[in-house]
């Protein structure tokens, strides 16, 4: 018993010293630069080393698979079947042309028309454009996380050792570090904004609130080890405008807000999020909605318009897709935010999935699981492009304007531009689309009757 006591105090001493050392390191290398917006460049070096290791690992797997003659699973980015992008009319005409020798300018019904619908239907069963946007993108080379490896077999000792080392580093070293940082960041945000909220309204309050927000977002960015490259910073959103971006995860907010000052829009949540929201509102005006108000589009539009017209208020940050998409495409933008008539500043965000997939599959993972996954990936690497501002032209309506902005974002980010609604993740498609297809086909057959009645 007595022998343990000095040993005990030794252990306690060691523990105390190591924690102090850790905290000083934390402070010096991470928090202080975050406050001033400077970076040591540690993360860039980290990223380069990781890339080299990943390339080696992929080569090793391919070599191992060839040696053992195992079939390799290669994910295809562009789909697994060969599709021809022809329209309904062209396809049906072609079928009829090969079938009968009749003149083609008298449209009528043929039994062979069914082949077109049949084939199109089966093609969509095999590989369609919409449902694959709601699950994580598949990588072409392995990034040493077992969650993205589809060839999970024992290939070589070195590879397994490397993977094991990776697990150790990620869970035992990076994870506690990141949690500590996140904790610091959030608590600073809440306390900072509450303190600033007590000051009287004026330039001093605005200045302080901006900087408190910025500082805390920067700490959070380091908490996720996010390596962000900003392009075209001269196009950053200004007061009285609306900033729209494609949505991949809740982290988008942190990424954008650490480089500019925004007013947020969203539903009031309970719990920790609610506390954060209430604190942020004290320092500068954000637009938070009650859950019941979200359904009333006019109320929402009115509040947004009021906010936008006040030139002293910060630009609003909105994600018009309405839900998280897996960063390979941009889906339909909801027209509500485009009806307001303010200047729109589009922003394109593209993540590099090799270091950590940021997509939040909300039907598969809850928020806490998602954050844990984020914090145990290698890093979050992304590029942000600020596009030049756009305004609604007099001859286009809100939907056309929304589509124009969407195409610009998709082009810049290298994403596929889809017309489908992100809400299809959870709901069924509207019958109106089916009726459109039916109308198109019936034109092909009815046309013949119009001709006949004329002759």
């Amino acid at each position: 018993m007595f022998l343990l006591l000095p040993f005990d105090s030794l252990v306690v001493n060691l523990l105390g010293i190591s924690i102090t050392v850790l905290f000083t390191l934390l402070l010096v290398f991470i928090i202080v630069p975050a406050i001033f917006g400077v970076s040591f460049g540690i993360r860039k070096v980290y990223m380069k080393t990781l890339l080299k290791i990943f390339q080696w690992a992929t080569l090793r797997i391919e070599r191992g698979a060839k040696e053992k003659n195992h079939p390799l699973y290669k994910p295809y980015v562009n789909g697994i079947i060969a599709k021809e992008p022809t329209s309904l009319e062209e396809e049906i005409k072609e079928i009829r042309r090969s079938g009968s020798g009749k003149a083609l300018d008298t449209p009528e019904f043929e039994l062979s028309d069914i082949f077109y619908f049949c084939r199109k239907g089966i093609e969509t069963i095999m590989d369609d454009e919409v449902t694959k946007r709601f699950s994580a993108e598949e990588l072409e080379s392995w990034n040493l996380l077992s969650r993205t490896n589809y060839n999970f077999q024992y290939i070589s000792l070195r590879l397994t050792v490397l993977w094991g080392l990776g697990v150790l580093i990620r869970y035992c070293f990076l994870l506690p570090l990141r949690i500590a940082l996140a904790f610091t960041g959030i608590s600073l945000l809440v306390t900072g904004t509450t303190v600033v909220g007590y000051l009287p309204n004026g330039r001093c309050k605005d200045f302080l609130s901006k900087h408190v927000h910025l500082m805390c977002y920067r700490i959070c960015v380091r908490a996720l080890t996010a390596i962000i490259t900003y392009h075209d910073r001269q196009n950053r959103p200004r007061n009285g405008g609306i900033c729209v971006a494609n949505h991949t995860s809740p982290i988008d907010v942190i990424i954008l807000a650490s480089d500019g000052y925004y007013a947020m829009v969203g539903q009031i949540h309970g719990g920790l999020m609610g506390v954060i929201q209430r604190a942020m509102v004290k320092a500068c005006p954000h637009v938070w909605f009650e859950r019941s108000e979200v359904k009333d589009r006019h109320l929402v539009a009115r509040r947004l318009t009021e906010h936008v017209q006040d030139k002293s208020k910060l630009p609003i940050l909105i994600f018009p897709e309405g839900t998280c998409i897996n960063n390979t495409s941009v889906m339909m933008f909801k027209k509500g935010s485009f009806e307001i008539g303010a200047t729109v500043y589009p922003v394109a965000i593209k993540y590099d999935p090799q270091f950590g997939d940021a997509f939040w599959n909300s039907s598969k993972y809850g928020m806490v699981t998602y954050l844990l996954r984020m914090m145990t990936s290698w890093a979050i690497v992304c590029s942000v492009w600020y596009l030049p501002p756009m305004t609604r032209q007099p001859e286009e309506d809100a939907v056309q304007f929304a589509n124009r902005v969407k195409s610009a974002i998709a082009r810049q980010g290298g994403l596929v531009d889809l017309l489908w609604d992100g809400g299809l993740k959870r709901e069924k498609v509207k019958d109106a689309f089916k009726e459109e297809q039916q109308k198109l086909y019936s034109k092909m057959i009815v046309g013949s009757h119009e001709d006949r009645s004329r002759s």
């Binding site: 079928i95 009528e108 049949c118 919409v130 297809q437 039916q438």
Partner: protein, 150 residues
């Protein structure tokens, strides 16, 4: 897989014949299809390769032969699976394809004309042999095949 799983694919749900295609996967009276059944149906759409035409003349026909592809299409029309396409069945399928855009009389006359042209034994219905005859010039192999990329 159940029918609801198929209906969740948006591009299939807007296909006018989506329900008929989904039906083709499920064997008589069952509501679930397993992977084997799924594969069997999809195998109809494998492209026909040249060397396959030569071998296996005596064995059972492969699932993706021209005749089997035509049979698949025939089954899409033949709603009650009696191996004949009656006027009513043709009308129903036509109605699915055009929605509400064409009147009943017009549709009826289209159906009548089609049966008239195809029917050879005078029973006012299209049997499988008559179906094959009508479509003998159509390039079924190419139109009903889906190629995988690799």
């Amino acid at each position: 897989l159940s029918r609801e799983d198929f209906q969740r694919i948006p591009e299939l749900a807007i296909n006018p014949l989506g329900d008929r295609i989904i039906n083709a996967f499920f064997p008589e009276g069952e509501d679930q299809v397993n992977f084997r059944g799924f594969m069997r149906t999809l195998a109809h759409f494998r492209p026909i390769e040249d060397n396959e035409k030569i071998k296996d003349q005596n064995g059972p026909e492969p699932l993706n032969s021209r005749s089997n592809k035509l049979h698949f299409a025939f089954r899409l029309y033949d709603l009650d699976k009696d191996d004949k396409i009656s006027r009513d069945e043709l009308l129903q399928v036509l109605r699915m394809m055009v929605g509400v855009n064409i009147s009943d009389e017009q549709l009826g006359s289209i159906a009548d004309r089609t049966i008239q042209e195809a029917d050879q034994d005078g029973d006012s219905a299209i049997s499988f042999a008559e179906f094959v005859k009508v479509l003998e010039k159509v390039d079924v192999e190419q139109k009903m095949s889906i190629r995988f990329l690799h």
